[in-house]
């Protein structure tokens, strides 16, 4: 098995991409504290940026990064449609999830967590999970340090 630890270049690439995407997020300069809604929206955007830059840093070598990239790309492409659909089907989905959560076993939960995990077999899922976890840890570290930097 190849090493799961994202190497230094991956980390650097992620940090760079993330910083770039952060810097690209133009926002209206408001003097007062931002409203909750805006914070929420920004949070989503930053999260997306973080995930996509991580996936891009990892590249298409991994199934999870491929799935994530595809998701991001599709999201960008069908943003409007998806949002409408999402709003429309929000209630239904909540109901479904409540129903399903009882009988969902551990593996399925893991599948849900790892991007692209729905289509993997258990071995592949575990492998991808390992890599995904390491990448997430890296991501958290980098983001943490950026946050520290900003909040000082």
């Amino acid at each position: 098995m190849t090493s799961v630890h994202p190497n230094s270049t991956t980390t650097t690439r992620f940090a760079r991409r993330f910083l770039i995407s952060l810097s690209r997020m133009r926002r209206p300069i408001t003097l007062g504290p931002p409203s909750d809604e805006e914070v929420c929206r920004r949070t989503r955007r930053i999260k997306l940026a973080a995930y996509s830059s991580m996936a891009r840093a990892v590249g298409s070598r991994r199934a999870w990064s491929r799935a994530l990239l595809l998701k991001v790309r599709n999201r960008v492409r069908f943003q409007g449609i998806l949002r409408n659909r999402f709003l429309a089907s929000k209630k239904k989905r909540v109901i479904k999830r409540n129903k399903a959560s009882g009988e969902m076993n551990k593996t399925d939960m893991l599948r849900k967590l790892v991007p692209g995990g729905e289509t993997m077999d258990i071995c592949g899922l575990l492998e991808e999970t390992a890599h995904y976890m390491a990448s997430l840890a890296t991501q958290v570290k980098v983001m943490q340090s950026i946050v520290d930097q900003y909040s000082k």
């Binding site: 190497n7 926002r27 931002p34 071995c123 943490q144």
Partner: protein
Amino acid sequence: MEMGDKDKFDLEKRSENHINYHLPGSVPSDWRFSGANIANSSLGLVSTDNQMPVCRGDLVGASCSSASMVDSFSPGVWDHPTNTQNLGFCDINVQHNASTINPIGIRKGGPASLRSGIDKTLDIVWNPPSSQLKGGIFLPTTPGALPQSLSQFPADSAFIERAARFSCFNGGNFSDVVNPLGIPEPMDLYSRGGGMMQVPHEVFAGSGLKSIPGGQGQKNVMNMGDSSKDASLSVEHVATEGSPLKNERRSGSFVRSHDEAKQGGSGNESEETEFSGGGRQEEQSMLEGNGGELSAKSPGSKKRKRNGQDADPYQAKGNQQSIEAAKDNPEVQQKGDENPASTPNKTAGKQGKQGSQASDPPKEEYIHVRARRGQATNSHSLAERVRREKISERMKFLQDLVPGCSKVIGKAVMLDEIINYVQSLQRQVEFLSMKLATVNPRLDFNIEGLHTKDILHSRAVPSSNLAFSPEVPMAYPPFNVSQPGLIQGSFPGMESHSEMLRRAINSQLTPLTGGFKEPTQLPNAWDYELNNVVQMGYATSAPQDSQDINGSLPPGHMKAEL
């Protein structure tokens, strides 16, 4: 025109195929009849017909005269190596047909496989059957030819199905004939692809039961390969060697076959028959090669003439050979040690052919995994065991990754832990992005400046030790330009000093912060990088470091802290 012929040919074959396959009872009679016809028709054809239309007419007229058909349509595709094999196959057919005495199974097998192959427009597909008919030795050649048409293999599903059907209803003989398909050797060769042309040679040489036949086989392969590359080389090769070799081989094989026929079936005989078959193929490939020298039509006629000339000996041989082939089949089986259960193997082999890659891994598994004492040995439980081992291996790997999970035993608990950890990481990311979102507006106006500052700072601090810090601000004043600075390669003096940089960073950081030891103790390389990118926090103040340490601690702790 030639294509048209082919198509018709295919159509006919297909129809015959179905008929034959679905009505096994009728097959033998059909073939017998065909054999009777073909002995004559092919003779007449080969000897007299120099033009395509005539051949075609024969094609259409005599549905069973596979030999003539092959002859007629192979000229259309002269350039391909497959044709050489087609020709070879024609011979086989001729033999078959000529010998009405043959056991039905064999006859069935030959033509059936032929047809199945024909349907695909893959001439190559024939080769395995033909080679098998001839015997084990020839197997290597087929792979040699196959790689050239590997792209066509996926289309062979129909062939596989048909072959499977064959194997189902044809008895021992045919299954034997088909069996070699499933033998791993050719499979491997297929999978290895185009570069395999050499290997068959070696195999030939290695198997080299008799020096002469071995040589012939090699030449054969050579011819095939050359002809694939189209004429020029092969023409020279073959043309020079062609006529004498042909004669020699013909005579030699002929004699051999005679002798063997008299003697009765033994291993040697089978080999020799194979060889004679090879010789024939060679001859025909040579013929092709000669044809290649000349222009399109005339070579065809020439070839046919030659074929016609050859036809008599061939048929004569054919009888004996087919007889021997009948004997060969069991021998082939014996040779193919890997054919314990014929039908499953066959199907597996064919599937493997379809996706050669797909076939290989299970094989390897079966090779590698050995049941210990008291363990089940059937393939399913072996596969299951492999799977379980894989899973547990990965679980172990994950166990190392998830903090605080090293003492957990049991897969369910492990999975729980993993899920929790991933979830917590994702939550952390969300939380951090939220924090960034709330934090950013304040720093909005100077975020770019901050970035540059950060990066330059992170680079400048170590670089000051390296005495090129003064260059940094000048070289990378704007943000966008400075971004590449993160990649070490873009810094002119950096690459060689990356190690020094890291050392410098560490040496700088450790004195600055008392609590910093924990992160540095982590062996991961990316920690260094992270420090590189983000080390401004460390460089500036100690409290930052404490925060970062918290970040590296389990998420619950960090959350509580934040």
